[in-house]
Every structure is written in structure tokens, then in C-alpha cells.
């Protein structure tokens, strides 16, 4: 049973305490605003240099405090992930993460990932866990012809591992969202190189959209989604779990960047279940071409 990991809140408090106890920080948080205010007051030839000095000094002090908080938060989160990984026999990863390996990891107009840790899932499979974000660009044109660009971010905590899924070149099981109605499944099947699979569970169909490559074997997909596995997937719907297989890569993800030990353990357990189920299905699959 892995031990408890210090929560991010506590780590952040400790980081803040450590940063603010530093004499350099104390000197900087006093001197930098004074210098900035003085420079601004001298540079701006306004009617009241004292007001300029006060405003700029206050802004600089506030920026310093916010910067300190952001730095403490980032360090606390990074320390949490490393502590969580260490206590589970995992370690900071240096480069086994495969970029753009599945549709989720290719989504959006720009992507970034961080906090990589890796470790064993089952006896013979290693996995990488990280925080992943993809962003979608929205361009709005105003009435005077000006264009503004907004980025909408979608955060995930992701586990990536390699699997062997004969007969299933690609598969995605995504929670259904608003607007992702079953009425459009047939259109998706017709217009894309994937097809939406309807299994025998109306509950599963209501919660998830299961898509596989057109070339995927129906037998392999149905062997994988045996009743117990379908029920397990339904039980994960509350966590908004999504899974994707492409080639030899499996990705299991949950929304948001998680810094909660129980949630991370849960994600590892989910990935382990999928890997084990794939191995069991492979063992019972008759020769699939």
C-alpha cells in the first residue's frame, strides 16, 4: 500500500514560507518597487510625480507577490508529482513520451505536456503519466475589421503505454458531450475513415462514443468489450475517462490536470485494467486478420 503524499496546498504553503524567508526575496520585494516607482516618476513628466511613484511601486509589489505565488505553486505541483511517483515506485521520466501518438495527442492548434513520470503498470508494461493540454484557436473579427485571437485550453491527465491489440488498428472511447448526439453517429461513420460501433448496451451507447477504424475486426472489438468490461467502462463514466488505441499506443486520460494522489492512483488502475483486458482478449482471440 503506497504511503500518503503531501497535498499540493501544503507544499505550496511550505514553498511560500521558504521563498519569503529568503533575505534576497525580502530585499527585492521592497527595493524593486521603490526603484521602479522612482524610475517611473523621473521618466514621466506628469503634474504629480508622487502619485506616479506610488502607483508604479504598488503595481511592482503586487506583481512580485503574484510571481512569488506562481513560482511556489509550480514548485509545489512539480514536487507533488515527483513524490507521488517515488512513493509508487515510479520515477521522473526523461523522454519515453510519444508526441501525437493518438488523436487526443494531436488535437487542437497547439499542444503542450509536462510533469512526466514513468513506471510499471503490469509485470511487462511500462507507462508514462503526464499533464497534457491542447488549445484551440478562435479568431473573432470585430465590426471595424480587427481580428482578435483567443485560445481555448483543454487539460488532461494522461497515461500512455504500449499495447498489442491485434485486429484493432485504432479505437477511441470518448464520453459523449453535449451536441455529440447519437443521431450524428451515422454521419461520422459515413464521412470519416472510422466507424461508430454499437454494442449491445444502450447505457454504454448513451455514455460513450466508441469508434474504431473501418478496417478493425468486429470480432476483436466485441471480444474486447465483453459484458464485464462494458460495465467497468460504465463505472468510469463519472470520471469522464477516455481511452484511445492507435497502432501500439494506448492512451487513458481524465479531464483536468490532476494533483490528487487518489485520482492519479485511480488513473493508473484504469490503465492497468485496460492493459490486462487487452491481454485477456488477445489470449482468447481466434486468429484475427
Amino acid at each position: 500500500m503506497p504511503g500518503p503524499v503531501e497535498p499540493v496546498n501544503q507544499g505550496r504553503r511550505e514553498q511560500l514560507r521558504a521563498l519569503t524567508a529568503n533575505n534576497w526575496w525580502r530585499a527585492a520585494i521592497v527595493l524593486v518597487p521603490i526603484v521602479a516607482g522612482a524610475v517611473a516618476a523621473a521618466a514621466v513628466s506628469g503634474p504629480n510625480p508622487v502619485v506616479v511613484f506610488m502607483l508604479v511601486a504598488a503595481a511592482a509589489a503586487l506583481a512580485g507577490l503574484i510571481g512569488t505565488y506562481v513560482l511556489a505553486d509550480r514548485r509545489a505541483k512539480s514536487a507533488f508529482i515527483e513524490a507521488w511517483a517515488r512513493s509508487r515506485g515510479w520515477a521522473k521520466d526523461t523522454g519515453s513520451w510519444l508526441e501525437e501518438a493518438t488523436p487526443l495527442l494531436r488535437d487542437g492548434d497547439r499542444r503542450e505536456s509536462s510533469d512526466y513520470v514513468s513506471g510499471p503498470l503490469t509485470n511487462d508494461s511500462q507507462a508514462v503519466l503526464c499533464h497534457y493540454t491542447y488549445e484551440v484557436r478562435h479568431e473573432n473579427t470585430s465590426s471595424n475589421g480587427g481580428t482578435t485571437t483567443n485560445w481555448e485550453a483543454f487539460d488532461f491527465t494522461v497515461i500512455e503505454t504500449s499495447v498489442n491489440a491485434p485486429g484493432i488498428p485504432s479505437l477511441s472511447l470518448h464520453p459523449r458531450s453535449f451536441g455529440d448526439n447519437r443521431l450524428f453517429d451515422r454521419i461520422d461513420t459515413t464521412l470519416t475513415s472510422n466507424r461508430v460501433v454499437q454494442l449491445e448496451s444502450s447505457e454504454l451507447e448513451h455514455e460513450y462514443k466508441l469508434e474504431v477504424a473501418d478496417s478493425a475486426s468486429d470480432v476483436a472489438v466485441r471480444l474486447l468489450f465483453e459484458p464485464a468490461f462494458m460495465v467497468w467502462c460504465l463505472d468510469q463514466a463519472a470520471d469522464q475517462m477516455l481511452l484511445e488505441i492507435e497502432g501500439e499506443t494506448l492512451v487513458v486520460a481524465i479531464p483536468d490536470h490532476s494533483y490528487d494522489a487518489a485520482q492519479l492512483d485511480g488513473l493508473v488502475a484504469k490503465a492497468t485494467t485496460v492493459v490486462t483486458r487487452l491481454a485477456d482478449a488477445r489470449a482468447t482471440t481466434p486468429k484475427v486478420t
Partner: protein, 202 residues
């Protein structure tokens, strides 16, 4: 006059479209119920196939427990001949109880429990029962969805015209679940009735 005619035709066209879509949806739901039932059927058959082997395995060590073996065999025969979810559910409950008694006998024979054959059969039965439980949840989910679809208004009009009938849930009633729990407030720990029969299928 022409506008009124167009409006009437549009309403009729919409009503026909609604009826067709609703009818197709019901057919689809009914097929899903049937498909889910066939999934349960496969698992039940697998369970029935395991029973004779289990009985034979226990018989080798406790040949004098003829009454229990006969009860298991009869329960299995009844379960095989039962048709429909309600009858099958009731028959499977009896099979579960009979298997519970069979395993209670096996408990008294450590050598039997140690044999690879018995352990394998027990593991297979346990796995099958897990699959039955999962298949039952899927089937009952489909039945609930289908029954709701055909009973709500205005779908019920289409369902009536198309002779869609509500389906039965598949429920394996466990006698242990029905036994009232005896709670003794005089003791610090609540005491549960001990005469509840064991059950193999939960």
C-alpha cells in the same frame, strides 16, 4: 386556402416523419434487448455446462450426499428448460442456492478443495457468474430504456400500433436478500440472522 393546405400537409408530413423515426428507434431498442438477452443466454449455458463437472468432482469425495447432488441436477434441468427472463431468473436463483449447498459440502473436504480440477472449475464458475452479473446489468439497462421508450407519450401511440410490448427484467432473486435481518440492540454489534442460506450467485 393554399396556405392552410400547405400547413396541413406540413403537419401530416411531420407526424409521419415522427412516427417513422419513433418506430425505427423502438425496433432498434428491441433488437438491443434481444442481443443483450442472447449475451446472458450464452453465459447461462456456460454455467449449466460447468455444473455436471462440479457435481462429479464433489461426488468423488462425498458420494453419500445424493440428495444435494440430485437437487443441483434438478435445478440445472429446470433452469435449462426455463424460457424467458422471469422464469429463467427464478430457476437460476434455485441453481444458485443448490450450488451454495454443493460448495458447503466441498468445504468439508480439504483434499477436494486442493485438487487442481476443482479449483479450476470453481474459478471458471466464479468468472461466469461475474459475466452473468455484468450481462444482467446490460440487459436490464436495455429493458429499462426500451420500456420507457414505448410507454411515454406520444411514443405509446406508435408502440400500440406497432404491437411493441414491455419486456421483463432479468432478476436473480437471492433468498438471502429476502431474509429479514435480525438486529439485536442489546449487543454492541448488530447480529445478522445466521440461518440465511448461502448463495453462489450474487
Amino acid at each position: 386556402m393554399l396556405i392552410a393546405l400547405i400547413v396541413v400537409l406540413a403537419v401530416v408530413a411531420l407526424a409521419i416523419l415522427f412516427a417513422v423515426l419513433t418506430y425505427n428507434g423502438m425496433i432498434r431498442s428491441r433488437n438491443m434487448v434481444d442481443e443483450a438477452w442472447s449475451g446472458i443466454d450464452v453465459q447461462l449455458k456456460r454455467r449449466h455446462d460447468l455444473i455436471p463437472n462440479l457435481v462429479e468432482a464433489v461426488k468423488g469425495y462425498a458420494a453419500h450426499e445424493q440428495e444435494t447432488f440430485q437437487a443441483v441436477t434438478d435445478a440445472r434441468a429446470n433452469a435449462i428448460s426455463a424460457s424467458g427472463p422471469a422464469a429463467s431468473g427464478a430457476a437460476e436463483s434455485i441453481v444458485g442456492q443448490a450450488l451454495g449447498r454443493l460448495f458447503a459440502i466441498a468445504e468439508a473436504y480439504p483434499q477436494l478443495r486442493a485438487t487442481e480440477n476443482f479449483q479450476q472449475l470453481q474459478a471458471e464458475l466464479s468468472n461466469t457468474e461475474d459475466q452473468i452479473a455484468a450481462a444482467r446489468r446490460i440487459y436490464n439497462g436495455n429493458v429499462q430504456s426500451y420500456n420507457t421508450k414505448i410507454q411515454v407519450f406520444p411514443n405509446s401511440l406508435v408502440a400500440g400500433a406497432g404491437h411493441f410490448e414491455a419486456r421483463e427484467f432479468f432478476e436473480i432473486t437471492d433468498a438471502a436478500d429476502r431474509t429479514p435481518v435480525t438486529v439485536d440492540f442489546s449487543s454492541p454489534e448488530p447480529a445478522v440472522a445466521e440461518d440465511a442460506p448461502p448463495s453462489a450467485l450474487t
